[in-house]
Every structure is written in C-alpha cells, then in structure tokens.
Point group: C2
Chain length 442, copies 2
C-alpha cells in the first residue's frame, strides 16, 4: 500500500499500472485509505486525466470489487442502454419493454434523480406498489422470464463506485471523463451484459454540455467498454430541450405509456427507435439498423411493447390498474400556465433551468435524503421551432406547494426564448460512435 | 460557506477573493470543513497555484486564526531568520545568540526534524534539561530580558497551519510554493517580528532542490512577507553538501558551541555572518551589511555570542555544565569510519542521503511519533573540493545500534563521489533577493 506514491504520480501527470490501480481499489473497499487521500487522488485525476489503459484498469477493478449478475443461463446476448442524464428523459421506461418484446434480454439497473436530472427508479415508483429493490436472484429470474427488469443497484454491485462517488460531488470531481467512464461502466458491466448502447447527451440540459466534451466522453465509454469485453455503441443526442413534453415522475410515466401504445411524441419515439435498433443489432437479433428500427416501431404500434411493460409492472408489484387507467397515477392538485409574452417562434429553451425547476417543485432531489413528490412536474406545450401567439401557453406547471411554484416561476418565464424567425431544425441524434467490434456490421 | 465553489474555482485555475479565503480558513478552524474537501482543495492549489494576492490572503487568514506574540513593549525592531531546511544546518543555534549579543531581539520559534532534515528544537534538547515548550508570556519575557529565545510553536499560534499541514504530507501537496509560503510566514508573522531573513536552500540536501524552484519560493516568501508588513530579505544558499561537519543533534550542538566561541567551520561561520548582518540591517542596528558582518564576526570572536547562548541555556532550564564541558553532552557508544576507496578530490556529496542516513541512525524522525537518539550522527571528515587518499576517512559514523549502522553503510559509501580533478568552488550564498522596503539601504 503506497497511496501517497500513487497520488504523487498522478499529480505529476504520470500513469499508474494495472496492479497499482487494483491495489488502490482493494484498499478503498477494505477501508484502508482515508477519505482525504481519496479526495486528493480524485482531484489529481480530474486535473491530469487517465489514459485508456488506466481507465480500463480502474473500471475493471471497480467491477470486481463486488458481486455481478450471472445471466449465463439465459440464451442469447444480454444488452442494455445507459444515458448520461437529461431532462424529461423517459427513454428507459419504453426501451426495455420494447427490446424485450423483440426478443432481447435487458437487465436494466438504473439510478435515482439528482440535481436537475430525473431518475428512472423515481419515475417508476409513481406507479403505486412498484418495487425496485430486487435481489440479484430476482433480477436474474425476471430477465429470464420477461426479458427485462428495472432494478436499483444492490449494495454488493461495484461497491468501490459508491465509495468514490460519495466524495466526488463534495470535491467537485464529478465532470471527469475517466471517473464518469469507470463509474458508469463498472455498474453496467456488473449486469453481465454483452452489449451496451450509450446515450451521451449534449446541450443545455446535459451534464457535459459542450459537443466536444460529449464526444470525448462517448469515445472513452465505447473504447473502455470494448476493452472490458462489452460491445458498445454511443449515440450523441441533443439535450438542448426536454425529450417529449413531460418533466417529472408520474407525468413521465404517463408519456411513456402513451409511447408504448404507439402514441408518443415524435422525438421520444425517434430516440427509442434508434437506441432500440442498436440494442437489437448488438444482440444479434436483426441484420442491420434499418430492420432494427422497423422491429421497434412495430412493437410500439402493435401493443406488444405495452403488454411487456404491463407484465413487468405486475411482476415488480406495481398496480397495473394505474397503467391501464392513468387517471389513477399520482397527480398534483394545482396547476398554472406559463404563457408567451410575445408572438413568434420558440428559438431555444433553457433545458437545465426546466429540470432544476421541476426538481425545486419536488420532482427531484437536491440531496439524497429529500423526498420525491411524484405528482408534480412540467408539461412543455411548445418545443423549439414551434410557433406561438402572445398569451398562448408555453408550459403547464403541476404543483402542490404555492410557495415553491412562485419561487420557480421567474426561472420558467426566462427559460423560453421567443424570436421572429423559426430556428433551423437540429437533428436529435448528432453522431454515432461504434466500438471496434461493431463497426463492420452496422 | 460554499467550499464546493471554492474548490471548483481553484480547480479551474480561477482566483479566490480575500473574503473567500478568510471564510475558508475560518471554516477550517471551526471544524466545519471535512478533511476530504480540504484535501481536494490542497491538490487543486498544488496543481493550479495561487497568485500573490491569494497567497497573502491565505497567510494573513492563517496568521489571524490564532494568537500572536506581542513584543510591542520591547524597543527596537524584532527580527528572525527562517531556513527552508537542510542537512547539518545548526545556524539558528549560533545566529540567535549572536544577533542578540549585537543588540537585536530574536523571538525564534523553531520546528522539529522531519524526513532527512534536522530540527533546531531536537538539537537543543541534546542539552540536558533544555525546555522548549514555553508559554507566550515566557517567550516574550525572555526576548525582553535576553534578546533571544528558542521556543516551540504553541498550539494557539496559527492553528490553521497545523490543520492544513497535517493533510499535506499524506496528500503529497507539500512542495507547493503558495502552501509553503503561507505555512512559513503565518507562523513567523505570529512572532510579531518587523523583519525576516529567509535562508532558502538549493541543491541535493534541500526540499526544493532546483535553483529555479528555490528562486520562485524565495520570491514568493519575500513579496508575501512584505505585503504582510514584515520587511524581508532572502538568501539562496547552497545545500549540495552539509553545512559544517556535524549532522545529528548533540554533535551539531557541539559544533555550534565551537562556532559561538570563534572556532567554527568556514562555511557555517560565513553563513551565520551573512544572515546575521542581514538581521542587524533589518533591525536598523547597522548602517550597511559590511558593518553588520564585522559586528557578527566580532561577537563570535570576543565570546559575547557564547555568553549570550550560555544565558539562554540557563534561562531555559538547560544544564550549563554540558555546554561548558561538551564531554557531558550525550554521545553514541559506538563509532566507525567510512573510508575513501580511491585517492582524489571530493567531487560531490549526496547531501540528502547523508541526512536520511543520520535520520535512520536515530537522529531524526520518519514519523512524528519516533523518538530521537540525541547522541548518534555523522561527522563529515571531508567536504567538496577536499583532497583524500585511498583509505583515509570520509565520514565518522556515531551509532548505538549495529543493525542500523549496517543498514545505512551502503548509502554512506555511495554518497561521496571522488574524482581525479578538484571541482570548481561554488559560492555558499548564490543569490540575494531583497524586498521592496529593503532595496535602497542594503
């Protein structure tokens, strides 16, 4: 154990050998490294970076610091998707059942909301009774039976990640490509998957707002995943405005259900179709992306994706009546409209501000101990490029606490920029980065 | 309190305002900032640096985090010297009584040995009964009565420095110019001095080995001291070989006593004279450095410096018999010689290796809890430039533990480089940097 030497080497821009990174992670898990040394190491990594080999070694050591799902008894390739986090991103709720309905196996271990970004587990818990705290055995069994599961990370999955993550916010070392890469992939690789699609967000609602940073992260994620034996593709997608209309928890479940029934908003359907096609291709279930997209579109149209979601909700203890009749989902008591002060076109939306406002209304957490109000949220009545007349609504605000609503109103009013000219349409998927093992076939 | 913001700003190379640094130090002293945030901050400062204004604000806030000596009742300027640490550096033991004998007031608060470098307090404790743990009142009274005191930092002097310093070794953030500057000057300024001479070491035995790093540190120390209202001069001095012959504790006291009696080794006498002249000039006791040097030389020759040392030892509880008859000082039971394998000239000495070997024999500490063996050490029988015949001694090793002696012997044998040609003599004082307030007069 010579944590000082490792900090010093990284401080000076040197590289750590695989064995050193393994010893570091082992020391961390055994509680032998004091937090202040870990913190200094994280800052040195933030400022000096890590090369591909170091990032892979760190990810691998974090993965092997705990248990992993054993899905080897399930035939065929197991695939999953990870998003770097955005606003109104309910893709997972639609994607997992859709891919499962097409024959894929999706062990989807998800996270909770933090900061301006929502969390899949919080959204699902809008459905009364829905249980996300499954054991490793329950997770495996459900993937075998239904092709998909939504679960929380158990405490024995990649424990080293929790030990590092807990310090990263307080030490402002979150936005580091090697640290993000290892944190994401250690947990995803612990799912025992063969293929992974990465949805790397860029734009005002993304954690890595600049296209350059998003591309760097995408490249690191894909190459590190492939070095760990997980075939990977990344799509860099636009998060300069919310995905779909709903931002919150029950409102997002409602929009996900509409999408699963073939009536989703255009951008959400497009992203589910693109990501789903990549997953089917990675799983070897389709010969190319075109067929994959068609297959996903069909399962949304023919009700098979919704039926799979229904089975998953039932299996995980959720009240299926609430997804058959969405009027039974929790809904805020009060609502108000934010109206456009002028006529014109929506030029841009401050996506992060909408996410932060939804969080402030109670839809998310500022600290892990905050309690979620599942019924509150926002509905975007206009998206970028839409025409709006003065006095027409831009946003519907669903709230339970008038003071909180009043507090966020100025930020909501400032979030929309209205101009005389319609802005140029931007593609939702801005780039695709395929790993070495995926390049020929896609 | 927003430690995260301050870490983030420093991480990104920004600067902190004086009020922010004050709030940070106040939070630190109140125990409100967890160690892991402090550690991340230290690493960000190490890698991003601090500008002059930030360094001054940090030093000032650390200074004001605790108590300070109030020497205002003593007439005339109070002056001190700080060395960045070397091997065989017993200058303080000679300098404080010499300057006091010339009419100066020297409240010398010193440190202990750590790593390869010795500590003034440990050396003085070779004198049976010598007490360094004085109260602030005792320190002040002794300066008033005798013109000099040797004391340990009390726990209420610059407590913020202790809180930071304790994390710096473990987080490898020691060798940072703004952190060294603030740590040194917060404690020195707390002595209530008007002028400070800085002995910044360069060469193989120094903490900042390269001349460039030494010059950068000297510049930072001088300009920060002056911004705090302490007139300052730095001498950049050679530490590529030990100062004098003795390395250890009682052996260094013995050599200091010889020097105080006018029989010191040439390099030690030169450095005491140069530093002492600067202190007398800063105190306004001499018109120029030439007169200052003559005054110091005279007090060493006429016994007045030794008599002052005698009074100081008596006042601090030390056994004066041991300084009158140095045979009473602790001395190791065993000794051995390291002999030159070839004839030639001493080309160079690995000064740090000698310091580390003396420490390993028991003269220093590797950890703060180690116990010092005051009688062990090294005597350099040859210095750089000296001629030596094969079989003649280079070093005398004084030890009590044969195993420790055997362990350091290979390093000692490798520390001297002997060559056919006499090396070019290097000046002991390599540069002088005077603060703005000192420039005209020197």
């Amino acid at each position: 154990m010579s944590m000082q030497e490792w900090i010093e080497r990284k401080r000076d821009g040197g590289t750590l050998a695989r064995e050193e990174i393994e010893a570091l992670v082992a020391g961390l898990v055994r509680g032998e490294i004091p937090d202040y040394q870990t913190a200094a190491f994280l800052m040195a990594v933030y400022l000096r970076g890590m090369d591909e080999a170091e990032t892979t070694a760190l990810t691998s050591a974090m993965l092997r610091s705990g248990a992993a799902l054993d899905l080897s008894a399930i035939a065929g390739a197991k695939v999953d998707k990870h998003s770097t986090g955005g606003v109104g991103d309910k893709v997972s709720l639609v994607l997992a059942p859709a891919v499962a309905a097409c024959g894929g196996s999706v062990p989807m271990i998800s996270g909770r909301s933090l900061g301006h970004s929502g969390g899949t587990l919080d959204k699902l818990e809008s459905i009364p009774g829905f249980r996300v705290g499954l054991t490793l055995d329950e997770l495996c069994a459900q993937v075998a039976d239904l092709g998909a599961v939504f679960g929380a990370a158990t405490s024995d999955l990649a424990p080293a990640d929790r030990l590092l993550y807990r310090l990263r916010d307080a030490t402002t070392t979150v936005a580091s490509v090697p640290l993000i890469t290892s944190s994401i992939l250690a947990k995803k690789a612990a799912e025992g998957i063969d293929g992974l699609v990465l949805d790397v967000k860029t734009g005002s609602g993304a954690f890595m707002a600049s296209p350059r940073a998003a591309r760097e992260l995408a490249r690191s994620l894909v190459s590190t995943a492939e070095r760990l034996g997980v075939r990977a593709v990344a799509l860099i997608t636009d998060m300069s405005q919310p995905l779909g209309a709903a931002i919150g928890n029950s409102v997002e479940v409602l929009e996900a259900i509409e999408t699963l029934r073939g009536k989703g908003p255009r951008d959400l359907v497009e992203l589910v179709t693109r990501l789903g096609a990549e997953m089917l291709l990675l799983a070897g279930l389709v010969p190319d992306l075109r067929v994959g997209r068609r297959r996903i579109a069909r399962c949304l149209a023919d009700g098979s994706a919704f039926r799979r979601f229904h089975s998953i909700v039932a299996r995980q203890g959720g009240d299926v009546a609430a997804i058959e009749n969405v009027g039974l989902l929790p809904r805020a008591d009060l609502h108000t409209l934010i109206e456009s002060p002028v006529s014109g076109y929506v030029r841009s939306i401050d996506c992060r501000a909408l996410g932060a406002a939804a969080c402030a209304l109670g839809a998310g957490r500022r600290r892990m101990e905050d309690v979620i109000d599942h019924g509150v949220g926002l509905m975007c009545m206009r998206k970028v490029g839409d025409a709006v007349e003065a006095g027409e609504p831009l946003l519907l605000v669903l709230y339970n606490d008038a003071a909180r609503c009043a507090a966020v109103r100025p930020a909501l009013e400032a979030a929309y920029v209205i101009g005389a000219e319609r802005p140029r349409a931007r593609p939702l998927v801005r780039a695709r980065l395929a790993g070495a093992t995926c390049r020929e076939r896609s």
